[in-house]
């Protein structure tokens, strides 16, 4: 009896107030939306939102890993585009290219992430700058490659199947993929030395280094993983739209950061749970969906979007007072 109550209090204590608030905001958005239209609470609509959220979810997973280190990855836009374009480009090279299209796209993303990681971990350049620079380089390479137009190659059937198909009728494959990646991320963060090291470095890199962690290698791997996940998000997006486009990644950088931060992960690193990121991703997706359903002009949508993010952060994202 005492054991169960002990377990219960531990469970309640483990719930982050930020995560709870985020889930509360999701419920609030759903209720508000259902006043507007009945279909907001229908399973089809919710499943559709979950599907849209999965693309952001995959990208935000990588972003979260980097933010947990106390760093940031601003190279998301063109890593997404590079992953998508390179996967589509590989598809043009016969059956072998078609088979290797997805791994090739992800590999290009990992390469960009590795450059970021080497810059941050070994050259000690602030992550905000080095990721900005690799973003510019990736954009440059892609512009030269495509000649400034959207590439003509289209996505492979495998990519389309992953993004639009449904292995089990009714549940889209992307939702499965996000769930798999999420489960792996939770396992890595909670049960492996790598995950503990990520939290340790995010809290204080000196202390982590002095306790014998090879901090530079961990940081590099985290950036490479973030690049790979961004590129995988791009591959899925290309499968969804059946081709890659020039600025397809632009719409994912700020929502990814916002989702991670709204989920209660500290932008200074070292604190945050994956459940929070899931809540943040769904929150952002729902917010965008509701704003577009209400047919508000783009200007009003931007203002509401920014205002809501500020408001939510003021609710629970504030730093402790310094005095």
């Amino acid at each position: 009896m005492t054991q169960t109550t002990g377990r219960k209090t531990r469970f309640i204590r483990s719930l982050d107030p930020a995560v709870l608030t985020a889930f509360g905001c999701i419920l609030l958005l759903l209720v508000l939306g259902s006043f507007y239209s009945r279909s907001f609470l229908s399973p089809e609509y919710l499943l559709q939102q979950l599907k849209v959220a999965s693309f952001l979810g995959v990208i935000a997973t990588g972003m979260m890993l980097v933010i947990l280190l106390g760093q940031i990855d601003l190279s998301v836009p063109w890593t997404v585009a590079t992953g998508a374009m390179m996967a589509c480009a590989a598809a043009a090279y016969g059956p072998l290219g078609t088979t290797l299209a997805i791994p090739f796209g992800i590999l290009c993303g990992i390469a960009i992430g590795l450059v970021n990681g080497v810059g941050v971990a070994y050259l000690r350049i602030p992550s905000m700058i080095v990721t900005l620079a690799t973003n510019a380089v990736a954009q440059g390479v892609m512009v030269v490659y495509t000649g400034g137009f959207s590439p003509q190659d289209s996505a492979t059937t495998a990519m389309r199947y992953l993004a639009t198909g449904a292995l089990i009728p009714g549940i889209p494959n992307v939702v499965f993929i996000w769930a798999l990646i999420g489960a792996a991320m939770v396992f890595i963060l909670r049960r492996t030395g790598f995950g503990r090291a990520v939290y340790g470095i995010g809290n204080r890199e000196r202390a982590a280094y002095l306790s014998g962690i090879n901090t530079r290698r961990i940081v590099m791997i985290a950036f490479a993983a973030s690049g790979g996940l961004s590129a995988f998000g791009g591959v899925l997006l290309a499968g969804y739209a059946s081709k890659a486009a020039q600025s397809m990644g632009d719409a994912y950088l700020l929502p990814a950061i916002a989702a991670v931060v709204l989920g209660g992960t500290s932008i200074l690193g070292g604190r945050g749970t994956y459940l929070g990121t899931v809540a943040g991703v769904i929150l952002i997706t729902l917010l965008q969906s509701i704003l577009s359903v209400t047919q508000m002009p783009e200007a009003g949508r931007q203002i509401t979007y920014g205002g809501v993010i500020i408001f939510m952060l003021l609710l629970y994202g504030r730093a402790p007072p310094s005095r």
Binding site: M128, I129, P297, E298, G306, P320, P321
Partner: protein, 326 residues
């Protein structure tokens, strides 16, 4: 350390940016078909001053150990506002200019208030306020358009005595009237101190909150001057998301090239101005060397990557590996 050595070390970043700019500009004019003429300088100045103003705005926030990702959006918002207000009789124009600048300062102050009193991290707070400012800009100008007092515009983008570009004079005036008094005032020193170590600054009784708020507000003001100038150059207001984002990103690049530390407390807006001018000249170099314009983004990206990698040279001065962790 002797006095001159100390002063040299203090201004090393600014001097490096200045020398990069001078070398780049000499290469540029030497290869330009028209050579070093007033026309070439005027065109280069007009293009460079826009980025220089935005970079200066970014610097004021960066020295407080913050970052302003909304600076490009304040630039767009004031541009769109100016395309409505800075028209008509001289009096109307003057009132319009004052309102535009006040709105710029207000945007900056809102950022500052959210960061200082709301205790949010600057990077996320300004992403969100940037979306709001862009939304307002879009509300003002859903489509590119509007007009501006062309007499004033031509006067400020032309040449004085047909030699000196007027935009450079304005830039110098902004530095002399806003940056220099600010950086030497108590509040300016407090902003620097807060960027260097907020706890230490607080313990020594510096007015860090007011200093930081002033830094944010002046940053908005300078970004507003930039937006005003954009209107003078283009005669229109245009809420282009890509352009706002590009100015934000380039301003960070210019700040880094100008030797301003992103960790705060170090550097000068004058360095950032030269960083911005150098960055623009690098972009223009491609045109004089007849490169395919397709290669321009790649070239700019590689230059940026190389420039930031130079920061890694500081590692050679590290004697204890622990020093390399912030």
């Amino acid at each position: 350390m002797k006095d001159w050595q100390y002063r040299l070390a203090e201004h090393r970043g600014t001097l490096t940016a200045l020398s990069i700019f001078v070398v780049m500009f000499i290469i540029y004019t030497a290869n330009h078909p028209a050579g070093f003429t007033a026309n070439v300088v005027q065109t280069a100045a007009n293009k460079g001053v826009l980025l220089a103003l935005v970079a200066m705005a970014q610097t004021m926030v960066v020295i407080t150990a913050g970052i302003d990702l909304s600076v490009g959006m304040i630039f767009l918002l004031t541009n769109c506002l100016a395309s409505w207000l800075v028209v008509g009789s001289p009096l109307e124009t003057a009132v319009g200019v004052v309102i535009v600048l006040a709105v710029g300062a207000l945007c900056g102050a809102i950022n500052g208030a959210i960061v200082i009193y709301g205790r949010l991290q600057p990077i996320v707070a300004t992403i969100a306020t940037g979306a709001v400012y862009f939304g307002i800009a879009l509300l003002l100008r859903p489509f590119p358009g509007g007009s501006v007092n062309e007499v004033l515009a031509d006067a400020l983008t032309g040449r004085i005595f047909s030699v000196v570009p007027a935009s450079l004079v304005v830039l110098a005036a902004v530095i002399a009237l806003i940056w220099v008094p600010f950086s030497r005032s108590v509040y300016g020193r407090a902003a620097y101190a807060a960027g260097s170590s907020e706890t230490a600054a607080y313990m020594s009784g510096m007015p860090i909150r007011r200093g930081k708020l002033l830094a944010y507000a002046l940053s908005g003001l300078v970004a507003g001057i930039g937006g005003l100038f954009l209107t003078f150059f283009t005669y229109t207001g245009d809420a282009a998301l890509a352009s706002g984002n590009a100015y934000t990103l380039f301003s960070i690049a210019a700040v880094v090239l100008g030797g301003v530390s992103l960790f705060g407390g170090k550097g000068s807006a004058i360095g950032a101005v030269f960083g911005a001018l150098a960055f623009r000249t690098i972009g223009d170099l491609l045109f004089v060397f007849d490169f395919d314009p397709l290669w321009q983004p790649l070239f700019q990206g590689l230059i940026l990557l190389a420039a930031v990698s130079l920061g890694a040279l500081a590692l050679f001065r590290v004697r204890n590996r622990l020093e390399s962790f912030q």
